[in-house]
Point group: D3
Chain length 163, copies 6
């Protein structure tokens, strides 16, 4: 079972001023694969806080799915925070999500969503609306289990792990 | 009204040895959206000069559209200069332009055109020929006003701006 | 006259819970050179806010002096924000400040203060305490006017500037 | 005639424990364009070794085609090594290959293959299986001669070359 | 008590062809501060392996001290691996070590040793010889406890940590 | 014998409007070590041209010594070009040169000179004046032969080299 952390980025959501429907949408969709949600947090659109949460979540999750903050408005800093903490990008995931979304609206091209790996954890940015979350997550869902199995192979090389 | 700067990159054009038809093509196409051209310059394919012009143009334009210098030949340095000065990329815009152009010619895949943001200014590289300018600009045109409105929201957070 | 912006980074200071004595210390020291302070702000230790303020201040200042947030504790993000917005570093300034401070305390070696240039504006990070501000600013003060004159030479190359 | 270096990345292949069929597949496909294979090596999936081989091969080849090591498993380090040694990326080539492969399998989206230029040499990562090599190489094959002609124009600017 | 991981990089040492005296030298020196050694490994000078070990060790150590592989010879890849995995550098530590070593030999200037932070773990590269290990570690030893206390403050910001 | 390329960066020098005395100063100083000058060129302060020349010179030289363009004025782009083409930095060389020069003048702290390695070639930026060239080169001269011997060891790992 893949351990999944859901992280909703929303200034209003974090203050309790708006109900988060995107986080629950992710939890619902993720049921279709061999995965369990191990944490669910709502934090404000603050690059520094996002980076620190991503770093901490990597210790308990195989997969972090963020929702919100992927655009170009001033409070959209999720991709910037993600790029700072990942060890390498998986550009094809972001390309595939944008390409699928572009069939619905040209505005999909300004999503800066990033997918990448830190340590043995896969981090994928999803947009903010429940509808867009569904559209985008559906694109990558079929390869998640395979991708994480491959990523997690990475400890075999470590002297430290064998101790 | 969006303030647009047009920057043509051309060694021959800058010396007056070749008429620039791509810059005027941009000016014509941009009429379809709520935008006005506030500057139009032709400079040589020199990375250093391009960087300095982009930095200066950011002070007066919401959108900079460059034409020329996006390929892989030795004098093609527009993407390199753009990557040096922007604060972050908007990869989906470049992907969408390449994908559309690829329907016409496989050579579109060697365009290294970049789209990104410096401060509150959106910078988009377009190819050099008037025909390719039209093909590419048409792809991003529908989202330009929306994107710039979002980008310009960014001053609300600044202590300095409120003074 | 060099136009100087002073930016104090302090969670408590920005909420009015602690008086800022470092910002005023900078203003006092800067009187020794041909400079005038054109803005003075106190904002919290938030990477996103710091980046946006630095970007905005570059439009009106030749020199931005920040104080605070240069260490390695969780709220210290000034160097990270500065590295994100500058076009290039001037490593020797940071080295010289650390070397001088190290004569007082070995803890100086964990200051991550950065000096660099965005557009035509020089940005220098200073530590948070008034005493350390004085020690560090004194090191770079003798070269500030010369450095900024050199940096500002940069508009001569711009087609746009000549218009 | 373009000079082509084929570099197979395979732990088992380099020890002689598995026959390399992907390298020969590249050699076969490349016959369709004006190219000759000047070197063919099999080395293990070791980032350090890959970087050093790519750097050395750039001295004798106009085009380096690698096969293997483009995924996300622990031994997949070809894209990381390539990113370290190239001077700039040609993102459209990698996008086009992923897009074509995605028509066959969604797993294509986790290929991290990179295309880019070091000095005057084009480096393109291809996947590991002979079937995927064929699918991907077919996508970029039509533009290779044109791209390399453009890239090699780059010496005209060099004082040193004129000596 | 600070948890310390010692990582010796040595091709010969990892094969048992040479006794490692530098790792034990670190263990001896570290006794002077509030620290305990939680792991000690010897692995070959392989960038990929070093990166994976550093990533894994970050899960159990507050401080990783590496020895070996900091020079410019082909097998010296410790600084490269370290730069790939850290979230930010602490340049003053490396500067201070080089400055002290330079008093003994000018060759100290080609040490590329890096100090930086990944998550909440401080990573410091030390040279390969026991004598140089002593010289260099002595420089940073007085600030290690203070630095790690500051770095570890970083979890206070995490929603996830509070759960 | 180390093969040395001398590259003078000077707009006026390249047009024959000013005699280059710094290049010859390097040639004179280099006689003290086991080295021979294999090329000497004067090119303008153009980032693009500098990058292309450095890339080409790496094919015939073990050591490239540049002079000029290391400051912060608009035409000073040598460090930027060098950072673009090198595979890794040797920060201690630049630190040591700045530290020595700072004993003469505080302006030394705004030198952005870079030292680094591309392939098997060491590139070192020196300032523009003959006096500063001497001061700086004297600092690194004692370690050049040793450093290059180490760097050149790097081919032993290459399958391609053994062919």
């Amino acid at each position: 079972m893949i351990k999944v952390a859901v992280l909703t980025l929303s200034d209003k959501g974090s203050k309790g001023e708006r109900e988060d429907t995107s986080g629950p949408a992710i939890e619902e969709l993720i049921k279709d694969i061999k995965a369990e949600v191990v944490s669910y947090d709502i934090i404000p659109d603050d690059q520094d806080k996002i980076e620190k949460n991503l770093i901490s979540l990597c210790k308990k999750a195989d997969l972090i799915l963020t929702t919100g903050g992927t655009g170009v408005s001033p409070r959209d800093v999720t991709p910037d925070a993600t790029l700072e903490v990942i060890d390498y990008e998986i550009p094809g995931m972001a390309e595939a999500m944008r390409q699928e979304s572009s069939k619905k609206t040209p505005r999909a091209m300004i999503s800066r969503a990033v997918a990448g790996v830190r340590g043995e954890t896969l981090i994928i940015n999803l947009p903010g609306s429940p509808k867009a979350v569904k559209e985008n997550l559906t694109v990558v869902l079929p390869v998640l289990v395979h991708a994480i199995e491959k990523i997690k192979g990475s400890t075999q090389d470590c002297a430290c792990q064998k101790d």
